[in-house]
């Protein structure tokens, strides 16, 4: 984006099937935006700029999941152009909410939404980027936390490991001194198995976590599903709880598919 870009690392932002919310986080980092733009060359970011520089790029931020043949090829090109490739958000990392098609007949979905289904070309499954190419780092969330994005860029520029926690939302919830909605109110809360990063917003707003940051490191999702059952949730409720924005992550998938077999 800037003309003085000779020695600055080049950043590219690629979009696949998504809502644009995660790449918007870069523009939403209002107080950091001009500083970031000063430290790096935002070389390819179509949502924000007409200027589109060719690769290779030092950092590629990938938003969205793969849902078309064309996109399955495009991600291969993107990978070849980027030294470090980072997925940003639940769509790129786990397939997103649109991965709910993976348990259904996509053709039926297409006929339901479009009057001429034969005009639409889409894959049977919505898949995360890592099912197609090696991914160097994942920024979680639906949407991502903009401060984690700024931290990731800053750490990469400094050549250090980004300080992004992999523990659960419960730790953030305690630190925020929010009342545990699972213990106090018996709500089905995904906090115990969900990676921190949002700041435990949902429990602080009096509702159960719905897991938008996806599975934490080594989650015991199956045990939490059993706990949900003890709290009086039926099978369908438990399946719906795990099957939202990170439904296709293998850890949540294992929990729901076990439950379906019972």
């Amino acid at each position: 984006m800037s003309s003085d870009a000779k020695h600055k690392p080049k950043i590219a932002v690629f979009k696949f099937a998504s809502c644009d919310g995660c790449q918007l986080s870069l523009l939403d980092a209002e107080e950091h935006l001009l500083a970031v733009a000063g430290a790096v060359d935002i070389a390819y970011f179509p949502e924000a700029s007409r200027r589109m520089l060719k690769g290779p790029y030092d950092i590629g931020l990938v938003e969205g999941s793969v849902t078309t043949h064309h996109d399955a090829q495009r991600i291969q090109q993107a990978r070849r152009q980027c030294r470090t490739l980072v997925t940003i958000g639940a769509c790129a990392t786990a397939g997103g909410i649109q991965a709910l098609r993976n348990w259904n007949d996509v053709n039926e979905f297409v006929s339901y939404v479009y009057s001429n289904p034969d005009y639409i070309q889409t894959l049977k499954q919505s898949t995360p980027i890592a099912e197609h190419v090696p991914v160097d780092f994942e920024l979680r969330g639906c949407p991502i936390n903009k401060y984690q994005l700024v931290e990731f860029i800053a750490a990469t520029l400094a050549g250090r490991k980004p300080n992004i926690p992999t523990y659960s939302v419960c730790l953030e919830c305690k630190r925020r001194a929010a009342i545990c909605v699972a213990v106090a109110r018996g709500l089905a809360c995904l906090g115990p198995v969900t990676q921190a990063g949002c700041g435990a917003i949902c429990p602080a707003y009096g509702r159960g976590c719905y897991g938008c940051f996806g599975p934490m490191e080594n989650p015991n999702a199956k045990a939490l599903a059993r706990r949900f059952a003890e709290l009086g949730n039926d099978r369908e409720q438990i399946l719906r709880a795990f099957r939202n924005f990170n439904a296709w992550s293998w850890q949540f998938r294992a929990a729901t598919e076990e439950r379906e077999q019972q």
Binding site: M1, A17, E30, R50, Q98, V113, I201, Y205, G206
Partner: protein, 440 residues
């Protein structure tokens, strides 16, 4: 922006822009020109379909606002509000008057954030001949810093009420999971007073831009409320006699599925294309604007009916003034709702709603069963409603600029499309430019 131009013999030119920048989502434009006549024009939308209506079926109605927010990261509140109002209407839920007021403040936050983003970061660079806001910042540092602060104030208001700016978590069928205390909202007063001044400056800045002479005979469509500039409620009206309850939306408007677009095209059944968004709201609800917003519009030389969509950037700035004033007024009137979450009795029912997203009217319809499970859903995004109108604009606009260079034509076509603040991610739930000049 990749532009491929090939000069074929006898003045035949092909322009192809593979990705339209500064819009939310993916699309492109394909144009065939003979002399200054457009022979073929297609706004190609290749945003991959995400099939929301498909997987909303089978979900519990309480989950719907969280899911539909994910259609658009720029205007998630609009998606939450249209789905919540549709479901509340289906279930006959009576909300607390203060909940209604708080939803209006919430919507003000989204309008401020989204309009500041579009006016400064996506649209103004076109008028100033810059590739993007970063390049613009070099010559207009103060304006860009003010824009970022203005946008942040909108985001802060949303975050205060909803927990975060993108995909907030507090809104629900029946009200809010948690509502702010009066003093928390009062804490936003000073920032909003600054934002109001910044918005007035924005009107002055954008009013000075050069606007192509391009007036069209639009059918403007927007919500209209007897006492308020519309956000959440009202009848759907137009300047050509539409005046309907939103329940009648699908009788009045039809969606067409065309081969070159994964977004559906809407039309008024009886006539054809129409326009939703700031220009429509301004022309149809001018009297409901605050006196200060009307004065700012008048000072900018803007009076209804404005038929130049390039001036939508000025209207957005006027709506910024309105949103700041309205938020301030509502914060003064706010007391926490007695029942933040109204009781909801589940039954099989159908409900529709239209609310005014920053980029235009957003229609939702849901049918749920006795257990509160969604069995049928329909969502018609503002950009779907505008797509046919954008194509109509380009049919008329391109002949006017056909003598220009390929690069200039390309940029001006993009600008004409960005007039609509198109949100392609939403409408598919957007753009490559392909211009072909055929031999005379």
């Amino acid at each position: 922006m990749s532009v491929r131009a090939s000069d074929a013999p006898k003045g035949a030119v092909t322009i192809r822009v593979d990705c339209l920048a500064r819009v939310e989502g993916e699309g492109g434009l394909q144009v065939k020109l003979r002399g200054d006549r457009v022979q073929e024009l297609k706004l190609r939308i290749f945003e991959p379909p995400r099939l929301f209506e498909g997987f909303l079926r089978g979900r519990h109605f309480t989950e719907v606002p969280d899911i539909t927010a994910r259609i658009c990261g720029i205007c998630p509140i609009a998606y939450q509000m249209s789905s919540i109002h549709a479901l509340e209407r289906a279930l006959g839920v009576e909300i607390d008057p203060m909940t209604r007021l708080l939803r209006r403040i919430f919507y003000c936050g989204e309008w401020i954030e989204s309009h500041a983003l579009h006016v400064y970061m996506l649209h103004a660079p076109d008028f100033l001949g810059c590739q993007d806001v970063i390049e613009m910042a070099a010559a207009h540092k103060q304006a860009v810093n003010d824009a970022l602060r203005l946008k942040k104030i909108g985001n802060d208001l949303v975050t205060l009420i909803g927990g975060r700016e993108i995909h907030p978590v507090s809104a629900a069928v029946g009200g809010f999971y948690k509502v702010p205390a009066r003093r928390q909202l009062e804490g936003m007063r000073e920032a909003l007073l600054w934002a109001l001044e910044a918005s007035l400056n924005t009107v002055r800045l954008v009013a000075g831009f050069h606007f192509p002479d391009f007036e069209q005979d639009y059918e403007f469509v927007s919500l209209s409320h007897p006492d308020e500039y519309p956000f959440n409620e009202g009848r759907l009206v137009s300047n050509r006699g539409i005046d309907i309850d939103v329940m009648e939306y699908e009788d009045c408007f039809a969606e067409r599925h065309v081969r070159h677009s994964t977004s559906l095209h809407s039309a008024v059944r009886a006539r054809g294309s129409f326009l939703v968004g700031p220009l429509a709201r301004f022309n149809l609800n001018y009297e409901k604007l605050t006196p200060l917003a009307r004065q700012a519009a008048a000072d900018a030389g803007l009076a209804p009916p404005c038929r130049n969509q390039f001036k939508s950037i000025v209207v957005r700035a006027v709506e910024l003034v309105f949103a700041c004033e309205e938020a301030l007024r509502l914060i003064d009137a706010y007391e926490p709702p007695v029942t933040p979450m109204a009781p909801v009795e589940v039954r099989a029912a159908t409900g529709q709603a239209v609310t005014e997203a920053p980029r235009g009217s957003l229609y939702h319809r849901y049918r749920i069963d006795d257990d509160g499970i969604v069995v049928d859903a329909r969502i018609i995004a503002p950009t779907s409603q505008n797509l046919r109108r954008i194509e109509d604009d380009l049919w008329s606009f391109i002949p006017k600029i056909a003598s220009k260079s390929v690069d200039e034509m390309t940029w001006q076509c993009e600008q004409a499309i960005r007039n609509y603040d198109p949100c392609i991610s939403c409408s598919c739930h957007f753009l490559k430019l392909h211009l072909e000049r055929a031999p005379e």
